[in-house]
Amino acid sequence: MKLLVCISKAPDTTSKIAFANGNTSFDEAGVTFIVNPYDEWYALVRALELKEAQGGSVTVISVGGSDYEQIIRKALAIGADDAVRIDAPETDALSVAKHIADYAKEQGFDLILTGKETINYNGSIVPGMLAELLSFPYVTLASKLHVNGNVATCEREIAGGVEVLEVTLPAVISAAKGMAEQRIPNMKGIMSARTKPLQVITPVAFAANTSVQNFEMPPAKSACKFIAPEQAADLIQLLHTEAKVI
């Protein structure tokens, strides 16, 4: 099975979020970047498990500048066989999806996996666009994935339970929590990642049709009102008369 995993770069989950250039861009000063957790923990690891069980190959792909190579090497250290970096700025979801689709359309991938969203832009758009551009079916937010021949069976969490979905490959599937468990790369993986193939492609440019005008921080919370534990019952009245939420 030929698998493609799309990975994106995201600030470490403990990063302080700040903006630069008149609040028009993310301030990267002092920020450690990681592989977007949904892409790494769930999509990449499940792809590796499928390859280990059934044979095949796992390629990771990113759209971004040379600063992406650190997270690409991390994905190779975890176990991907090779990597592709499309050397273009990540302007918006459409341009990223078009770059990946342009590469993938000639490669004959059976399955393209992505995380359900990135933790920085929270879009959940690229995989669906990719499916449309490649005319593949698309399963959103799969929390379990099994492949039998050319049929993928997914589970997805719904209100009060799960639904079981079936799709014929090739397909795009976005991964949510539950699909796999995070893997920590071992020393052998880290060493071999240095020499695994990383192809850099200089693409034709695609026009974006959205752009961030500016960022702002959410309004500050007012101070916490403390209630003595022996007067805990007062909370219910405060929630009714003051906060007006019950």
Binding site: P11, T14, I17, F19, P37, L94, A97, I119, N120, Y121, N122, G123, S124, I125, V126, G128, M129, E132, L133, P137, Y138, T140, L141, R156, A159, G160, G161, E163, V164, L165, E166, V167, T168, K177, G178, A208, N209, T210, S211, Q213, N214, F215, M217, P218, K221, S222, C224, I227, P229, A232, A233, D234, L235, I236, Q237, L239, H240, A243, V245, I246
Partner: protein, 315 residues
């Protein structure tokens, strides 16, 4: 500017997220002097959508459950029929499966997870998992916007309106639902809940969740948990709220025995009112809380249950 909004039929009912999308689209259309048409499908009383402010409802009754590609075909045909240049869907599972396809096929710019009525074509949305807000411009002539659940809210501002039968051929579904496994028929689905009682490792073990469930029941709330608790199997994964679980924005979030790591806060910081109950006065969650009780959950929560019962008796 005319807007077409998709309202999902979930087992014969409109989920709250669909009513929010219609409320949002109708208010947006009104603010720019345009019309708002809703499209829905399957066996359902579609006229009620008028209650949420749309001017017109199109209904493809013959299509029951639909996958993302079928919704894409349906929605684009309805947008053409109603001369819309803007399409609105919910940013729920169904919206996520269809909206990106619609944007590509319709050659429209897309912003997902809008939290407020756009100003012109600038859309406000949460980024960095709720730690910041972005204002995003759509530069194309046509646009697709998805609405973050539990952000704008449901606004019943209109009256039932006429429903027009709509016919369009849609392709066969390629994503097929084989089975639905419901774990509990009762209880409130977490993403839709406007009140949530959540607990963490401070509960010491899954056998102690009885008081959490009882408090939730008295308040009409859903139950949730922190990541460590779902990772060690005390609670199901679908209850995990946080950066890598699900993000929720209820009106009331009560956190019991959760320290409030930044990853947990990212999943709940959109909540209107946050109550934190923790033994440790240094727990970082208190900094994000509106109300705090420093105390033992096993002493505090039973008092809250008793007070909630007394409060309910007076209603």
């Amino acid at each position: 500017m005319n807007i077409l909004v998709f309202a999902e039929n979930q087992n014969g009912k409109f989920p709250k997220s669909a009513l929010e999308a219609v409320s949002f689209a109708a208010a947006w259309a009104k603010s720019v002097g345009g019309s708002c048409t809703a499209i829905t499908h399957g066996q359902i009383d579609a006229s009620v959508l008028g209650n949420y402010g749309c001017n017109r409802v199109l209904h493809l009754a013959s299509l029951a459950a639909a996958d993302g590609e079928q919704i894409t075909a349906l929605v684009i045909a309805a947008a053409e029929k109603s001369a819309a240049n803007t399409i609105v869907l919910s940013h729920d599972t169904t919206g996520k499966s269809a909206a990106p396809r619609i944007a590509v096929r319709w050659n429209a710019g897309i912003v997902s997870g809008a939290t407020a009525i756009p100003h012109g074509t600038t859309v406000k949305k949460n980024v960095f998992s709720g730690k910041a807000i972005a204002h995003v411009n759509i530069t194309s002539e046509k646009q697709v916007v998805t609405v973050l659940p539990n952000a704008y809210g449901v606004h019943a501002t209109g009256a039932p309106c006429a429903v027009e039968a709509f016919e369009v051929s849609v392709p066969a579904a390629r994503v097929v639902v084989k089975e639905v496994k419901l774990e509990s028929a009762e209880g409130i689905p977490l993403p839709e809940a406007d009140k949530v009682v959540s607990a963490g490792r401070g509960m010491k073990g899954p056998e102690n969740w009885g008081i959490i469930e009882e408090l939730a029941k008295e308040l009409g709330a859903a139950t949730a948990c922190s990541r460590p608790v779902s990772d060690i199997g005390w609670r199901p994964h679908h209850e995990h709220v946080g950066q890598t679980g699900i993000a929720i924005r209820p009106n009331l979030y009560i956190a019991v025995g959760i320290s409030g790591a930044i990853q947990h806060l990212a999943g709940v910081n959109g909540s209107q009112v946050i109550v934190v109950i923790n033994k440790d006065p240094e727990a970082p969650f208190f900094k994000a809380a509106d109300y705090g009780i420093v105390g033992d959950a096993f002493e505090v929560v039973p008092q809250l249950i008793a007070a909630a019962k007394a409060f309910n008796a007076t209603k």
